[in-house]
């Protein structure tokens, strides 16, 4: 049995078990929802456009926040890798900050920016900035010196040396960090949206709770998982694969 068939059978069985337990009516539907109820909720959410709007808003925040943290993280990582003093001081602080759940930045964000879009972006940036920075720093340090020397030798200087040599050369080293950064940003965004009511998928989830609508809660959770999987499994996996093939780290299959 191939892999796709296996997982198909698994999910069908999972839903079947769920349906049977729900049918037994041990708990009321607002505690234990039915698969068809969740299905209806999904359908309703997409037909009345509320899910589309929530997805669009959440994705826009992700792209903005994640984009900012990638640019900032690459810059910070480069600075840290190039400066022994900063690496030992600021670098250590950044590693210890990584143990802080990103939602802990929300109070600061709200006090600084109020209940605005900026506050949400701040939480997203803080959620993913550290992993991008740290991976860029280690990637930059692992980078063989030969590439920069060859680049300088061929006339690349300053920002051009960075864009045409250092950045592409370190990409295989930092792609894992970029992926992790995306996952952290996604988690931060949803938690931020849940607490901080202003549209988006997190708010849809909280609306389900407020309305005692378990179907909606599960439907939105499925959406969040699905979107996360889509980006991680399709976009990042493809990029990683392409990099490996191009660099000769893996063969095309």
């Amino acid at each position: 049995m191939n892999k796709a068939l296996k997982s198909f059978v698994f999910y069908v069985a999972l839903i079947a078990v769920w349906a049977i337990v729900a049918r037994m009516k041990i708990w009321p539907p607002y505690i234990f929802p039915t698969p068809w109820g969740v299905g209806e909720s999904l359908w309703a959410g997409f037909t009345d456009h509320s899910f589309w709007i929530a997805i669009a808003i959440s994705m826009k925040r992700m792209l903005l926040g994640y984009g900012m943290s990638v640019v900032l993280g690459i810059f910070l990582g480069m600075v840290l890798a190039g400066n022994k003093f900063l690496e030992q001081t600021l670098g250590g602080l950044l590693v210890s900050l990584q143990s802080l759940p990103s939602i802990c930045w929300l109070p600061i964000a709200v006090l600084w920016f109020g209940l605005t879009e900026k506050a949400i972006l701040f939480v997203v940036v803080m959620g993913s900035l550290l992993s991008v920075t740290i991976s860029m720093e280690t990637g930059r340090k692992q980078l063989p010196r030969i590439y920069a020397m060859a680049g300088r030798n061929l006339g690349a200087r300053g920002i051009r040396l960075f864009l045409h040599v250092t950045l592409p050369a370190s990409l295989p080293y930092i792609v894992t960090g970029l992926k992790q950064g995306w996952a952290f940003a996604w988690r931060s965004l949803i938690s931020g949206e849940m607490i901080f009511v202003s549209l988006g998928l997190g708010q849809q989830l909280m609306m389900g709770r407020d309305l005692n609508d378990m179907n909606l809660v599960i439907a939105v959770m499925i959406l969040i998982i699905g979107l996360g999987y889509l980006v991680d499994g399709l976009i990042f996996k493809t990029i990683e694969k392409q990099l490996q093939i191009r660099w000769g780290l893996a063969t095309a299959s």
Partner: protein
Amino acid sequence: MTPNRANTALQSVDHRGTARTTFHPHAGRDAAVISMPSHGVRTAKVSLRDICLSYATNNRGRLVALEKINLEVRSGEFLCIVGPSGCGKSTLLHLIAGLHGPTSGEIRIDGAPIEGPSTSRILIFQELGLFPWLTVAQNVEFGMHMKGVSRVERREKSREYLRLVHLYQFRDSYVHQLSGGMRQRVALARALATEPDVLLMDEPFAALDAQTRDLLHDELERIWSETGRTIIFVTHNVREAVRLGDRVVLMTFRPGQVKQEYEFDLSRPRRLEDVEVAGAAREILDDLREEINKSLEAEYGHE
């Protein structure tokens, strides 16, 4: 092939100019007497004056890598530098490329002191440093891209140089898909495409099998005669040096100094198996052996 070619001449010049020896004086024709690297020769393409390089070691004191190197390279000359490992011959190329500065001394190109790297002096690294994220053609175009040459012109030039090294059909391949000899040729095309006056080559063929190396010797000789570039070629293989060079410079083990210079008038094209090449190589090898012993002593003598 006659074992003794009439125009064979091998001369050796003590670098300090105090002594001149002629090892193969049987040359019938008046073997061109080498002009001593006297200061201020007008035709000098590259001139090194009193180059010293030392750096701090992590335990004690300073390590003197290069000491008072004086060397002049004529325009269009093929100069080979040989020496035991650790004599600083690669470092010397890095200095000429402008990737590092010497501790003291001066490097001049056409009489003007160098300032950092320049595309008029391209170094082919021992480990090549080809960019794995670019295709073969993009690697060759890299230097021109940095110079701001237009896309159309770049494409045209890369085609020209890839044809020169017989790799045009591999223009869209990535580096890892090529064999060692092919990578070597990509590096050569990439260096030539920036149209440097001086080509610096750091043991480029050391990692190749004998057949591929022979082939690349022929190609390099052909390209050199077609393009008229000045080449400074570092190798630990004395035969290779005699096979390729107009002149061979022997360096001493740490601190690196110029021990001896040898100038030939062997006809081209040459082959590694030529009797003249072997004979000349033997003379150099005898002098080199002394330095190799010193380097071995430094490496194993303390145990």
